[in-house]
């Protein structure tokens, strides 16, 4: 390799390394990120002004962060959300992995649904769990439907994955070879 190529590739590697950034884990909620939203529009039919800046801030902090999402996933099972919502597919409660939201699908709307509870069975968690945990849960609920960066989203639970021997999908369907006589 010529010396110029060497220098060039070293520079590229260094530049690529400079792009690496380790995700921050916020064990304590950063200031200004662990209180409930004030104004939320749940559906376009309801008038109201949503605090867009706060929503965007919360979406960025909780939804783009693998640690918060995995904490949300853990809490989803700890607080038995799966008991009604299944693992996102819905059962007694509505499905969470589609884009149909009765009470709004933005992170702050989901926060309020968890905090205030909703008719027909959704219990209110405000005062029972800290605000940071509700934000983590809301972010995880949104990630079930594919929101947020793919690299940050937790994968499916081991126990809802199809075991390899039952549903082998690694063999592609091979089309029958064309008959040479035709």
């Amino acid at each position: 390799m010529c010396s110029r190529c060497r220098v060039l590739s070293a520079a590229i590697v260094l530049l690529a390394l400079a792009g690496c950034q380790r995700e921050k884990r916020h064990f304590e909620a950063p200031p200004g990120t662990d209180f409930p939203p004030t104004q939320v529009t749940m559906s376009p039919l309801v008038t109201g002004v949503s605090a867009t800046a706060f929503r965007e801030q919360q979406t960025h902090i909780y939804e783009d962060n693998a640690y918060h999402l995995s904490e949300g996933k853990r809490l989803f099972s700890w607080f038995n959300c799966a008991g009604c919502h299944g693992h996102g597919g819905g059962n007694i409660g509505p499905a969470l992995m589609d884009e149909e939201w009765i009470y709004g699908g933005d992170i702050d709307a989901i926060y309020l649904t968890i905090a205030q509870g909703r008719p027909n069975g959704m219990p209110a968690f405000a005062g029972r769990i800290p605000a940071q945990q509700i934000w983590q849960l809301a972010a995880y609920v949104r990630s079930l439907g594919g929101h947020g960066p793919k690299a940050a989203r937790p994968s499916r639970d081991d126990h809802i994955q199809i075991p390899a021997e039952q549903g082998r999908r690694d063999e592609p369907v091979v089309p029958a070879p064309a008959d040479p006589s035709q």
Binding site: R25, F27, E28, A29, W78, F79, G127, P130, D158
Partner: protein, 315 residues
């Protein structure tokens, strides 16, 4: 009761004694061979100036020495293999008729301990503490709730992994009374270092008294401050993860707190269980043990004082 030095070379249980024996046997045999080797090396260095025999005489001497050396190695290795085999058999046989059955579940980052009895009403649930009567044969079923952990009480037995989705087991038979430290011996996340527990080996009477106290249910507060503390506990976020027998808190994702104040350690060994430490822990668990699963719960100072007084009374 003082805390014993946690050391594999201070065996205080049947299993640990067997393990210490094989360890010392291996150390002795290997040490002897090493000393011999070095001895011969020094000898050759010193002998180089003396006139050495040559030819057939030399060949014969080398052959004799080599046969001796190989023979020594064969005998040594056979001895060690035999000792290892016998130790293995002894370990399997030891505590094969358990008198006490336990279930230990590893969590990030604490140990859930359950005494399992044929009679369900005799089951005891606690955390980060294992009480055992001296001399008893103990069987512990191990499982993990999240990631791989490893159960290790150096004075009593070797390590055994706790693997999610699988159950493993370990047997103990402590020979002396005392407090023995236990650890998680498999890196399991940010607070792996504070995933400790204690094994408290006591006389049969003391153990029976401890178990009776654990079975008796939580202390009901009588003074206003502690009653207020119980109300705070039931009203705040606590019952979503913790349980206290006799209250409406019955969750099992966090440690059972029915007899919280009877335990010496707090937060799986991060702190000793004193009022001041408890207050610091409740005010901000993330500052004491960053990353652990106990959230910061904002409570007014008055409520916190009542809560600390209540939890501190749960003997």
């Amino acid at each position: 009761m003082s805390l014993s030095a946690h050391s594999v070379s201070q065996p205080l249980g049947v299993h640990a004694e067997h393990i210490a024996f094989i360890w010392h046997a291996m150390l002795g045999a290997c040490g002897l061979m090493y000393a011999l080797l070095l001895g011969f090396l020094v000898m050759t260095l010193l002998r180089q100036h003396r006139s050495a025999p040559a030819g057939v005489e030399l060949e014969k001497r080398i052959e004799r020495t080599l046969i001796l050396w190989v023979g020594l190695i064969v005998v040594g290795l056979c001895g060690l293999t035999l000792a290892s085999f016998l130790t293995d058999r002894a370990l399997v046989r030891a505590a094969s008729e358990p008198q006490i059955a336990l279930r230990v579940i590893g969590h990030q980052w604490w140990w859930q301990v359950e005494y399992v009895d044929a009679d369900n009403s005799q089951n005891v649930r606690t955390a980060n503490e294992i009480h055992l009567p001296v001399g008893a044969q103990v069987h512990i079923a191990l499982s993990s709730d999240d990631v791989i952990h490893s159960f290790w009480v150096p004075n009593l037995n070797g390590k055994r992994d706790l693997i999610p989705g699988r159950s493993t087991e370990i047997r103990l038979q402590p020979l002396t009374t005392g407090r023995f430290r236990g650890f998680c011996a498999e890196f399991c996340g940010v607070q792996h270092a504070y995933m400790q527990f204690e094994v408290i080996v006591e006389s049969a009477q003391e153990f029976a008294a401890w178990k009776a106290r654990q079975l008796a249910g939580a202390v009901t507060p009588t003074d206003p401050l502690r009653q207020a503390g119980r109300d705070v506990f039931e009203r705040a976020a606590c019952p979503l993860c913790h349980a206290i027998a006799g209250t409406n808190a019955a969750a099992s994702t966090g440690p059972d707190l029915s007899h919280f104040a009877s335990r010496r350690l707090l937060a799986a060994g991060a702190l000793t269980n004193t009022r001041d430490h408890l207050r610091a822990w409740l005010q901000n668990p993330q500052r004491v043990k960053p990353g652990n699963h106990m959230p910061v719960v904002d409570l007014p100072g008055r409520d916190m004082t009542a809560l600390v007084a209540y939890l501190g009374s749960l003997q």
